[in-house]
Amino acid sequence: MRAALLALVLCGALMGCRHGRLSALTTSPPGAVSTLATDDSVTSTLTLTEGIAVALECNAMDGLTCDLNRLYVAPNAIAPVYLGYGDFGVQRRTTSNGATTQASKAVFIVTGARVGTQVIDVPAGSETLKLVVNVIPQK
């Protein structure tokens, strides 16, 4: 109990409770599924119909940016990933110490190449977000 309370206090003091997040920019076509669910602070699950692509945006914690150039998934994987370009304007982020960055959205495209599960590490500032991709069969 004391340990949990201590962790909670430390979390609040260091702003460690705040994490980066992934969000979906596109929906699935009729007859297909692309559902993004947040499991815990750093893990999300994407359920995706095979053959379907979905665009995700990465926002790092504390005003940092997601370095998607370090994001790599082999082309023959269950869920190949591509760097995306988004003409969505500039976002200005402010860190907890007042510094600002201005950059375009960090967008990447996840595709369901074949049925199965794949875990993708997404570099998000000083942490790594886990994206579990469950590719399900087409109806």
């Binding site: 702003m15 297909a32 053959g51 379907i52 692509a53 003409d87 500039v90 495209i109 087409q138």
Partner: protein, 234 residues
């Protein structure tokens, strides 16, 4: 100690949306006037327009990409990147399921029934946009008349006068629903009183009434067959 929360400033984007609303309206009006929107789609990220490569006056294009593509058939696409300030470098079409929809250059070919997203990839493998197509197995082939007023399926028999021209094009169907796509065709003509012309369009033939008579035009494609009885009246 006071800690400031991280924040994302969206004010510039909100101003941009307000400024952009009139531009969006103009774009919508332009699309409605051009008539090109019924032959294609806009990419999922809104940064491209994808349309069937076709003369906008040609009603043979009317299925466009609004319907699934027939397995075994292909379509050639025109791609327009609409992202602001971007001149793309050698856009390539990348299929997420090439076993279902295969891409070669700007041509897509349906290989098997199912769905596949098609990525518009820049030379550096950055994806600018994507769209999803569906392939369906055809169950029938029907002949359509291509005119300035109609692209409806024809009945089994039509009458012509000497000198009349009618442009015929075959379309694939799946259980009564129209499909897109063109495949290799074989045209044959039995009877007298009319000629069949190949005017260079792989998807159509032109029938010309020459003299009074009757006959049958038959087209075969992907193992399906469609027939039309013609009567040329004096």
């Amino acid at each position: 100690m006071t800690l400031r929360s991280p924040s994302i400033d969206l004010s510039n984007q909100i101003v941009g949306i307000a400024r952009g609303s009139s531009a969006v309206l103009l774009l919508a009006l332009a699309a409605a006037c051009s008539g090109a929107d019924n032959r294609g789609t806009t990419g999922a990220l809104g940064q491209s327009d994808i349309i069937q490569e076709c003369d906008s006056r040609d009603l043979a294009c009317s299925p466009g990409l609004d319907v699934p593509i027939a397995v075994g058939a292909s379509e050639t696409l025109q791609l327009h990147i609409t992202a602001r300030g971007v001149t793309p470098d050698r856009i390539a079409l990348v299929s997420t399921r090439p076993d279902k929809i295969y891409t070669q250059g700007t041509t897509i070919e349906a290989k098997a029934a199912g769905m596949s997203s098609i990525l518009l990839s820049n030379a550096d493998k950055t994806v600018l946009d994507f769209f999803t197509l569906t392939a369906r197995t055809p169950t029938a082939l029907r002949l359509h008349r291509n005119s300035t007023t109609s692209n409806a399926a024809l009945p089994n028999k039509i009458d012509l006068l000497v000198g009349d021209r009618v442009v015929l094009l075959p379309h694939f169907y799946e259980n009564g629903a129209l499909l897109a796509g063109v495949a290799e065709q074989t045209w044959t003509l039995d009877g007298s009183g009319f000629s069949i012309l190949n005017e260079g369009d792989i998807a159509s033939r032109t029938i010309v009434g020459r003299s009074p008579g009757t006959g049958t035009v038959t087209v075969k494609s992907l193992g399906f067959e469609a027939k039309l009885t013609l009567q040329v009246l004096p």
